[in-house]
Amino acid sequence: MLRRGGALIMNHYEEAQKLLGKVLGSLGLDDELSRRQFLKLSGFSIIGITALGPGLAKGSAKPLIIMEQAEGIVLADPTRCVGCRRCELACTEFNDGKAQPSISRIKVNRNINFGPKGLYTGRDSLGNWGNGLIIQDLCKQCPHPVPCANACPNDAIVVKPPLNARVVDPDRCVGCKMCQKACPWEMLSFDSEKNKATKCFLCDGKPKCVDACPASALTYASWQDLTEKVPPRAVPTAVLPPAKAAACIDCHKK
């Protein structure tokens, strides 16, 4: 199995390499680059394999390399949040036609009462029962490696141009919830009425949550990397498929 997987990965590498070469050539970087060198050129590493060729997305044991950074991100100011949940309602009503905060891609309700730790610890708590501060949880539109996308056995989490939001392709999603277990910030939602995962897709640049906030607590901004800044809510428990993991080591080994 491993060998077969390895072979698949090699094929994939070669194919990807050619494509990368083409793209880099168009950027004036036509030197032959190893993939590792390529990744080091972080300023230019905004290219997604998935976007380069749909054929590459097939197969379960390829490394999913989403390198195109997102163009936008929703930022939150907890000091302004008034806990009304209009963001959660706008996210689901105006996108899904139903009010369902449990599938909202901005998550506020889980922090409203006691803060992100979820347990009452007296006035040391955050939230309505603590000091009043409500943390709004938002998708980081992660840079590579994108945990939810990597964990998906069907490569259903793809980059959607032009904003390059990481989105769930409902046609590929089989509802296994592995993505939910992979996100350190627990930002994946699961719509059990549709049996599909869902996540923030930036509403094509006009986020409904930002528009709906009556306290100006949300902002739509140029993408920035918050993955190192925002503490995780959970230890991810999704396991990277071994074949993918092997491929990742190739790039990420020192």
């Binding site: 000091t79 302004r80 139903k98 369902q100 009462n113 006691f114 009043g132 306290a215």
Partner: protein
């Protein structure tokens, strides 16, 4: 997925005597009354026999939400709780308490539009509703605990997103002046003891499901934004309280307190509320600060932020942080509530050494909020505190109590308006300790009866604001003349109707209000300037009818009658018009059942009429004009003995009020003399069976 938009689809029925849990189809069985109070009145009409007492197992408690609860329609956080009312005197009749918070939305997401609680558990229990999983569980470990601890313990068990509606010790001890409360500060008065009588400590609910919007999502988004654009501040005050660069008008009495320089001072760092231009829908939450409205500018420094119900941008529960109370009184330095709840502790005192808007007053608020919201005490629209003041100042407390009990209170502290006095009084009310506390916990009517005091005396005193049947006025003649009087005669508790005063107190100049009044009620004479009343006319009767219908509509749709209706708006370019069809537009798009304003108003009238029918049936008389719709003496009195309808007075003429009631009855299709609805009125509104039943008892108009 629900079959209809708006409604979750099921009404839950829980029999605490047998432990049987069942559900019925909301739309099939209750669509004609929408939900909320409509659901409550219908269940009581069909299932609770006349003569049942509030604490009998045969009484039922109906937690009702409506099709808009849990949606993004602004101001939809309300749950109406209908039951036989324990403070309704001399005979308990139907009434409703209403709470905001998160309960309504969570119940809807769990898949239920309402809960009918019946019977009585043989031991303390709570109900947990986790989506479709509904269970009755042992609550002996929670019995005796306050609302706060009960909520925390159930949250630890069911997770941080659970919404707990609980009673405190007051409800357990069957103190009629008790509440059920959810989401830290959102309570419904009068209901606590009825839950206690059923051994029901709490309902914990969390839902992960959805409320479907039947219409196109783009259409819904547009409608919601229209509604948001028409909102004012709390109580639909549409002009700011101070001059603003964008504002043509301002009114110091407005709850629209946001202004550049007014900061949420206890936010870290502080946040300037800014100019709050009404066209900026992203600053609506900065308009209202009810702490500053009631406690004065001193409150800004202590304001953390606004808080409130699910989906409401108004945030009328202002969160304040007052560090001094932690060391001084041993209570949490953060607290929140609105109106009567915010003022619970403060209202026991006539004055404070540092003035009505000083620190002592604020500290009294903090102590009062924390104690009453934990013990689960109800203020009955601050009648509890007004009664206490009257009893104390007239020496009744001293006369009635034995020396030992009287001396057990630190009256010297009370005389100095020391908030720590509340630590002596409030727990005793909740725990039924001593004659004074027991009497106060009964509610005004039964308190007067117990102490052989005259209700007539209470009805004469302008400062008491007492109306009838154990309850006070709630926006009556002193604010809205004859229309206010009519509204205050109709219920079996304070009416909790704001349709009328949300309009008359919106802050717009009189000529603008009159223009909007003419468009809505057919004549600009429907309203008067405050303190410049004119005799009764048909416009005022129409406005009263409209107000009552909209109140019931709001309480059945789950829209907040502390915010709507939306006849006026803050928008100059609309001539300050709102949209009087807001309710029907929201209903139609959310449910997919298109109804015009007139059609939906007919449903509201049906619901109101059902309340009337229940009242008549349970009173056993059709003589409503003389037996029920009574007006207290103070309405006719002016302390300076000036004639009615002269400038600066708010009292009314006796004959004119009689005329007003008659005009209102006619407008409603009720008998002009008795005030009992006629058979054809019931039939016109789809209540032929109700008419039939009342007809057999000779109770038709």
């Amino acid at each position: 997925m629900a079959k209809h938009g708006g409604w979750a689809g099921k009404v839950l029925r829980i029999d605490l005597s047998t432990g049987r849990i069942s559900s019925e189809d909301t739309v099939e069985k209750y669509k004609d009354v929408l939900g909320g109070t409509g659901l409550g009145y219908k269940v009581l009409w069909e299932e609770v026999a006349p003569g049942t007492k509030p604490f009998d197992p045969a009484n039922k408690i109906v937690f009702g939400t409506g099709p808009l609860a849990g949606t993004g329609a602004p101001c939809n956080g309300r749950t109406a709780i209908t039951t036989l009312w324990p403070t309704c005197w001399p005979k308990p009749l139907v009434a409703s308490g209403h709470m905001g918070g998160q309960f309504a939305a969570e119940l809807k997401y769990a898949g239920y539009d309402g809960i009918i609680i019946e019977g009585k558990a043989d031991r303390p229990v709570y109900v947990s509703i986790m989506d479709k999983k509904v269970e009755i569980k042992d609550a002996r470990h929670l019995w005796g605990q306050g609302i706060r601890r009960t909520t925390v313990e159930l949250s630890q068990q069911f997770g941080p997103e659970v919404c707990v509606a609980a009673i405190g010790q007051a409800g357990e001890n069957l103190i009629p002046m008790s509440v059920v409360m959810n989401a830290y500060s959102h309570s419904a008065g009068g209901v606590g003891a009825v839950m206690g009588s059923k051994n029901l400590k709490a309902i914990a609910v969390h839902g992960t499901g959805s409320v479907t919007i039947a219409g196109k999502k783009e259409e819904w988004e547009k409608l919601v934004k229209l509604h948001l654009s028409l909102l004012g501040a709390n109580n639909q005050h549409v002009v700011p309280s101070s001059p603003q660069p964008w504002a043509e008008y301002y009114s110091p009495g407005s709850r629209w307190k946001g202004s550049r320089g007014n900061k949420w001072g206890a936010s870290e760092p502080a946040i300037d509320t800014g100019i709050c231009d009404p066209h900026d829908l992203n600053t609506i939450a900065y308009r209202t600060n009810n702490a500053a409205f009631y406690l004065g500018d001193i409150a800004w420094k202590y304001t953390v932020r606004g808080n409130g119900c699910t989906g409401c941008p108004i945030r009328c529960h202002t969160m304040i942080k007052v560090p001094s109370v932690a060391a001084k009184y041993g209570i949490s330095e953060v607290g929140m509530n609105t109106c009567g709840g915010l003022n619970f502790g403060r209202s026991f005192f006539r004055k404070f050494p540092d003035g009505a808007r000083g620190m002592t007053s604020m500290e009294a608020c903090m102590v009062g909020m924390h104690m009453s919201d934990d013990y689960g005490l109800w203020c009955n629209y601050s009648q509890l505190q007004r009664d206490f003041l009257k009893l104390y100042e007239t020496g009744i407390i001293k006369n009635k109590l034995g020396e030992k009990e009287f001396n057990s209170y630190s009256w010297d502290k009370y005389e100095k308006s020391d908030p720590s006095f509340l630590f002596e009084l409030l727990p005793r009310i909740a725990l039924k300790q001593g004659e004074l506390a027991t009497a106060l916990g009964l509610g005004t009517g039964y308190m007067l009866e117990t102490w052989s005091l005259s209700e007539e005396e209470w009805k004469k005193d302008n400062r008491l604001s007492y109306w009838k049947m154990g309850h006070p006025k709630h926006h009556a003649s002193e604010e809205v003349g004859q229309c206010g009087v009519i509204i205050n005669t109709q219920y079996n508790r304070d009416p909790q109707c704001h349709s009328h005063c949300n309009f008359t107190r919106n802050g717009l100049p009189l000529e603008l209000q009159k223009r909007l009044a003419a468009e809505t009620w057919g004549t600009q004479d429907a309203i008067d300037a405050l303190g410049s009343y004119t005799p009764m006319n048909i416009g005022k009767a129409r406005m009263a009818k409209w107000s009552l219908i909209r109140k019931e509509l709001h309480d059945s749709l789950s829209l907040c009658n502390w915010m709507g209706p939306w006849v006026a708006s803050p928008l100059k370019e609309r001539g300050y018009r709102g949209d009087d069809s807001m309710e029907s537009m929201l209903y139609s798009v959310a449910t997919g059942d298109p109804k015009s304003r007139e059609e939906l108003d007919r449903v509201g009238e049906r619901i109101f009429l059902l309340h009337r029918a229940l009242t008549i049936r349970d009173m056993g008389t059709k003589e409503m004009s003389t037996q029920h719709d009574t007006v207290p003496e103070w309405v006719y009195n002016d302390q300076e003995k000036r004639p009615a309808y002269t400038k600066g007075t708010t009292h009314l003429g006796r004959d004119d009020v009689k005329l007003a009631m008659g005009m209102f009855y006619e407008e409603m299709g009720w008998d002009k003399t008795t005030g009992a609805p006629r058979a054809e009125t019931y039939r016109r509104l789809g209540l032929a069976k109700v008419a039939e039943e009342l007809g057999k008892k000779g109770l038709l108009g």
